[in-house]
Every structure is written in C-alpha cells, then in structure tokens.
C-alpha cells in the first residue's frame, strides 16, 4: 500500500511562482530520492508532503497529498507532524531550543511522552548523531554540519513513519554524509519511508534499493569530470602567491586555527576541504581581514584584496533588482563582464527581478556576480559555493572559476562536495591539527593516508578517472 500519494499536485505562491503539476506514490519502507534543478520546486513539494503547505502557507494548492490515506488538507498540522517528519534545508534558522538537549526535547514533549521515554529517546539520539559532547551547547554556536545533525536528531527521535528531508547532505562533510545516508538506508529497511530531496546524488545512488525520481530533465545532467583549470601552472603573468604564515585565530577561549601556514598559488583554483568545524570559513575570513588573527596573510608582502562570497547569500543582498544589486557602487562597471556574468550564471531572465524572491541557488549565484563585477585584485574566495546548486550550475561555477584563475588570479573555495573539489587544481585538506596536506588534486585524491589523518575518506564513487584528473 502506498504511504504517500501525490495526485495532480500544483502550488502557486502568492508572489506568483508556481510548481507542478506532479503525481507520484511512495510505498511503505521505500527510499525515494527526488532530484531536480535549482528552483524547480523540490522544497515546495517537500512542504506539501509534510503538510506545511497548505496549513501555514497561503498560496493556491490544487490536487491532493495523502499520507496513510489521510489528506493533508483535512488533517490537523500536529497530527501530520506525527505522520511525516520534516528536516529543513537550512537548520540554523530553525533551532528552537536554547541547548542541544532542549532542541530534541521540544519535539518529544509535543508527542505526549512521559519523562522516562523522553530521556531514553534523547540519549539514543544524542549518541546516534555524535552530539553527546555538545548537549549543553547553544545550537546557534554549532557548525553547519553539527546543526544539520541536530535537526535530524530532533526529528528522527519522534520516530515518524515517513521522513521527508530537504537537502539533508548539503552541509555535511564526506564522513558525516556517508554515515547519514547509511542511517537513512537503515531506517528505510526498518520500515520508515524516506523521501530525500537532494542534489548530491552520488551518496544516495550508491545505496541499494533507492528509487530516483527526477522532477525535471535538467536533473539528469551529469556532473562534468573536467578539471577546472590547468591554468597558469608556471605562472608567467607575474601574479604572486598568497602566503599565510603561522596564523592563529581564537573565538573566545577556543583556538580555531593554530599556527597555520599555507601557500596558495595564484592562477589556480584551490579547494579547501575538511570535516565540519575544522575552521574552513574562519580561514577565508582571516584571508579577507574580516577575522582578527595573529600571524600574517600577504600577497607580495602586502595585505591581499580578495572578494568573498558568503555561505548565506541573504547577508549580501539588499537591492530592488538583480541589475542594481550587481552594479551597486561599482565605478565604471565593465558592462561586457556584466552581460557575461548574467549569461553564465543563469541570471539573464531575472535582470529586473527583486533578488529576494530568487531561489537560494540563484541568490548564491547573484552574490558571486556582485563580487566578480568588482574584479578584486587578487581573486575570489567562495564559502561553500555548491550549497543548493544542481550539477549543471556546479559545472558552470567551476568553469567560471577556471576562467578567473586563467587571468592569474587566485580562486579559493571551501566545500564538502568532493566532486567539486576534484575539479579544482589543488586541494588543501584541513584536519584537527590544521593543514593535513596540500597539493595537486590528483596527488591528494590518490593518497588515502592523507584523508585518514583528516578523519575523512574518498568515497568509491569519486572514480579513478577523477582521482587521476582525466578531463572529459
């Protein structure tokens, strides 16, 4: 019997954007992986299944969604929350508790469980997701990956028969993502129906018994295996490397980076990878001078000029239209570059659209355009640029990075996405003690001992081709 039935579902937001129609069914214990290009409506459908649409959204919904034969239209929201648990895309915005423990307890209290049962489930969840040592911490002070785990713990502890996940892997490092997919597979085998809306397909496709459903044709675009650039290997454009010497960064009493030294070649794309909480974002902030540090960060002996694209694009966007956003306070803008940015970043049709109504992926690309239009002298830094991006856009992004690098500039990106990292020229692996290794991508990917030291591994689906950097 189908646990989920979606019949001719359409939904139109009050702002005009619409999704559907779509119909599908999901059987009990099935693991469904839903793919689709950025902005195709994955999050909207996830909200329809969980009942948030139509209960707290007031757009126009037609068709119906049935969970265990009960329509989401006529069932109360708190009852639906017991039938289908929903894990959101951006966990940091949805933390309700003042501590990690409280975050889990809130959902359990609403089930009407007694104290002993809540205690038992709390301990089990903390243990399963490795949150034991963080139980007293404020959720807002956790890293993105830790928050993602906490969001999962809070929902799975309620043991809903259906679990709906919107981009559950986006913030997780390779180990955590692999661990989570295994756990989801286990849940599915034990009878829980799992529906994951996820761009990072490889983690899920490697699991047995996962059904894939594409919401649009663009979802079937395979990630290109082409190396980003082999540009400027013996750089003759005169650009000097970025030299990071013995930098130390503290946050309160916690030391985030300790005596870290690193040289990043100009004219290259460098990917910084590492487990959640190893200081990747902190390093980027130190390079731009936003983060106070001890030590030195220089290019040719001087303070560098890098543009930074933040993880959360909402922090950088405020104008009334995409055009004015990109050209904001740019003196003598290069309109050729502007037109090219619109084209390659897929923003052409949104030129006069208010940025705030773009999808998360589109906003991210817009934030990148606002930085690139300024042509920062030494290059750009991208903090988790692949979050919310589909394969086609990741490919475009790396092409763009290669183009920037070919002009002698430095491109540094932090990522959990090893596909993306495998397309960079160089990889820096951050471990618990700072830089574990730094070198050419093929060398780093081929050396398992490096990954082991950083508490990570290269999954099997990063093929031998990618390890050797064979171009498509």
């Amino acid at each position: 019997m189908a646990v989920i039935q979606v019949n001719d579902l359409t939904y139109a937001y009050p702002q005009g954007r619409s999704v559907g129609p779509c119909s599908f069914t999901v059987e009990k214990g099935e693991f469904l992986h839903v793919t689709g290009s950025s902005g195709c409506g994955k999050s909207t459908i996830a909200r329809c299944i969980s009942g948030l649409i139509p209960h707290i959204y007031h757009g126009k919904m037609t068709g119906e969604v049935l969970i265990n034969g009960r329509s989401t239209l006529s069932t109360r929201m708190w009852e639906l929350s017991e039938l289908a648990g929903f894990v959101f895309q951006n966990p940091s915005m949805q933390m309700l508790g003042n501590t990690v423990e409280e975050e889990i307890i809130i959902g359990l209290e609403n089930l009407g469980l007694d104290r002993a049962e809540i205690s038992g489930r709390l301990e089990e969840s903390l243990g399963r997701f490795g949150l034991d040592s963080l139980r007293g911490r404020d959720p807002q002070t956790l890293s993105g990956g830790e928050q993602q785990k906490l969001a999962l713990a809070a929902i799975t502890s309620r043991r809903p028969p259906v679990l709906v996940l919107d981009e559950p892997l986006s913030m997780l490092d390779v180990s955590a993502a692999t661990e989570l997919t295994r756990y989801l597979s286990l849940l599915s085998r034990s009878g829980t129906t799992v529906i994951a809306f996820e761009h990072r397909a490889d983690y899920l496709s490697s699991l047995p018994g996962v059904r894939v459903m594409a919401l649009d044709s663009a979802a079937s675009v395979k990630f290109s295996r082409r190396r980003a650039s082999a540009s400027c290997p013996d750089c003759k454009c005169g650009a000097k490397p970025l030299v990071i010497s013995n930098i130390c960064v503290n946050a309160g009493k916690t030391r985030i980076l300790e005596n870290m030294s690193l040289t990043v070649q100009s004219g290259s794309v460098t990917a910084i990878v590492g487990r959640n909480g190893t200081g990747k974002t902190t390093l980027l902030r130190a390079i731009t001078g936003l983060q106070p540090f001890e030590g030195s960060v220089t290019v040719n002996g001087k303070k560098p000029d890098f543009g930074l694209v933040c993880q959360n694009a909402d922090l950088q966007i405020f104008n009334a239209a995409v055009r004015s956003e990109i050209l904001y306070r740019v003196n003598n803008p290069d309109m050729k570059l502007y037109a090219r940015l619109l084209e390659i970043l897929g923003l052409g049709r949104y030129e006069n659209t208010p940025p705030l109504i773009l999808s998360e992926g589109e906003k991210k690309r817009l934030a990148l355009a606002t930085v690139l239009i300024r042509k920062p002298e030494h290059g750009v830094l991208l903090d988790e640029p692949s979050l919310g991006q589909d394969a086609a856009h990741k490919h475009t992004l790396m092409e763009l990075c290669a183009e920037i690098a070919s002009t002698g500039k430095t491109v540094i990106l932090t990522t959990h996405d090893l596909h993306l990292a495998s397309m960079a020229d160089r990889i820096v692996v951050l471990g618990p003690d700072g830089v574990t290794a730094s070198g050419r991508t093929e060398d780093i990917l081929a050396d398992d001992s490096i990954w082991a030291r950083a508490g990570m591994f290269v999954p099997g689906w990063i093929t031998e081709d990618e390890r050797k950097g064979i171009t498509a």
Binding site: Q140, F318, Y328
Partner: protein
C-alpha cells in the same frame, strides 16, 4: 559566556556562575515584581533599596553584567537627569535616575540567569497559554541573535565591496545607503528566521493537545529563603517611618 566562531555571543549570555542561575524562575519573577514596586517609593527609601539591591547583585555575581547594561543607558540617564534637575528639582532628578537604574538592573538579573525555556515554564505556570509563552520565549531567544547577525551582515557587505563609498558626516547620502545595505538584510533575515522557526515548531507538533512538559518547576529551600527574605526586607522598608 557562549561564543561562536565569529567570537560573538550566542543566543543569550547566561551567567552560569551566578547562584541565581539555579533559582526557580518564579522566584526571580517575584524579585522583579518586588523591585518594580520598590521604585515607586520616595527618595530615601529608594536610595536604601538601591544600596541593598546592588549588594544583592554583587552577591549573585551579576554586578558587572548589570553595570554593563546600565552603562548602555548612560545617555538616556544623563539627559533625563539634567532635564529633571532643570525643569523640576534635583530630588526628582536623583529619584528618577535611581529608579531607572534599578529597573535596568532587574532586567539584567532576570535575563542573565533565565533561559527562554525557563521563562516559558514560568509563564505557563502563571496560566499564560503555551502557544504565547512558547512564542515569547522564542522571541526572547531571537533577540539575542540580532547583534551577531548584524555583525555578520556588516562583514558580508564589506566583503562584497558595498562599503566602498567615502565615509564620514560629509557624505550623508552614502551613509544612508550604507545603513540601507545593512538594514534590508537584517530585516529579511529576521523575517526569514521568524518564519523558519514557525515552520520548525509546526513540523514538531506545536499546538498538539497531547503535550507533556519534560521539565517541571520546583521551589527549593533556597527559593523560599530568597522569597521570604525579599518580602521581609520589602515590608521593613515600607514600614520605615521617615522623619
């Protein structure tokens, strides 16, 4: 004090070392109520209460935090003091200033030793419906994020070069634009956070009639001691006949 990777405080600056941290939130609410009533007293009694109250804050290891909060109000206090002095009398200037300082200290005491969930429990005990108590607790929690979010926005705007225009009072239009570049994302983020939290609450069964609280409030001996001590002092001050 909790800090994130930005070196900023998290949702709340809870003073874990204060003996009031373990005190029942209802006791602290009672203390707040007593202090709020005490500010209505005449100058001499307010002055005595002021001294006793700040001795109490010192005992509770909350004096530095309370002084920081009061320091933030320095301009308001100074303006009120001068205006009251010039328009009415020096006595009124002193009493109004003392009252405001006490009220600021009371809030500092309560919010630096009480978490939003404890506040929620106390409100529910006071028969405030759970949905309002929970929402109030969440709002109280979210206020703590505003400062850190503001700084993140400032950094992000600097990083994209939005603050490239000349600064200073001679460029008022540029200053207004700078303010817009900070305010719009701040408002958007606050609205998104509020909406996301609403979604998260509903996705976890908010408004379920079956809800059973995990934690329960419990008045300990220390609580009764503090409440009765405060009541005794309050009555003593009230019954003190001024010459």
């Amino acid at each position: 004090m909790k800090q994130d990777a930005y070196g900023m405080t998290g949702a709340l600056s809870i003073s874990e070392s204060s003996p009031l941290r373990k005190v029942d939130p209802r006791t602290k609410l009672a203390l707040c109520l007593a202090a709020s009533l005490a500010v209505m007293l005449p100058l001499q009694k307010v002055a005595v209460f002021f001294v006793l109250y700040f001795m109490f804050l010192a005992w509770a290891r909350l004096l530095p935090g309370a002084l920081r909060q009061i320091w933030k109000l320095k301009w308001i206090l100074a303006v009120l003091f001068v205006v009251d002095w010039l328009v009415v009398s020096p006595e009124l200037a002193v009493v109004v200033t003392l009252r405001l300082v006490i009220v600021a200290g009371v809030f500092a005491m309560f919010f630096s030793t009480t978490t939003p969930s404890e506040l929620c429990l106390a409100l529910v005990w006071m028969r405030v419906p759970y949905r309002y108590a929970f929402s109030l607790g969440l709002s109280f929690q979210a206020v703590g994020h505003i400062n850190s979010e503001w700084r993140k926005i400032l950094e992000a705007q600097k990083a994209r070069g939005a603050f490239s225009a000349p600064s200073g009072w001679r460029y008022p239009v540029e200053q207004v634009k700078n303010l817009v570049s900070l305010t719009v994302p701040a408002v958007v983020l606050a609205a998104k956070r509020a909406w996301s939290m609403t979604e998260a609450a509903y996705a976890r069964g908010f408004e379920s009639p079956n809800r059973r609280p995990y934690k329960a409030l419990l008045m300990s001996r220390a609580d009764w001691f503090i409440v009765s001590g405060a009541a005794f002092i309050f009555i003593l001050i009230l019954s003190w006949r001024l010459p």
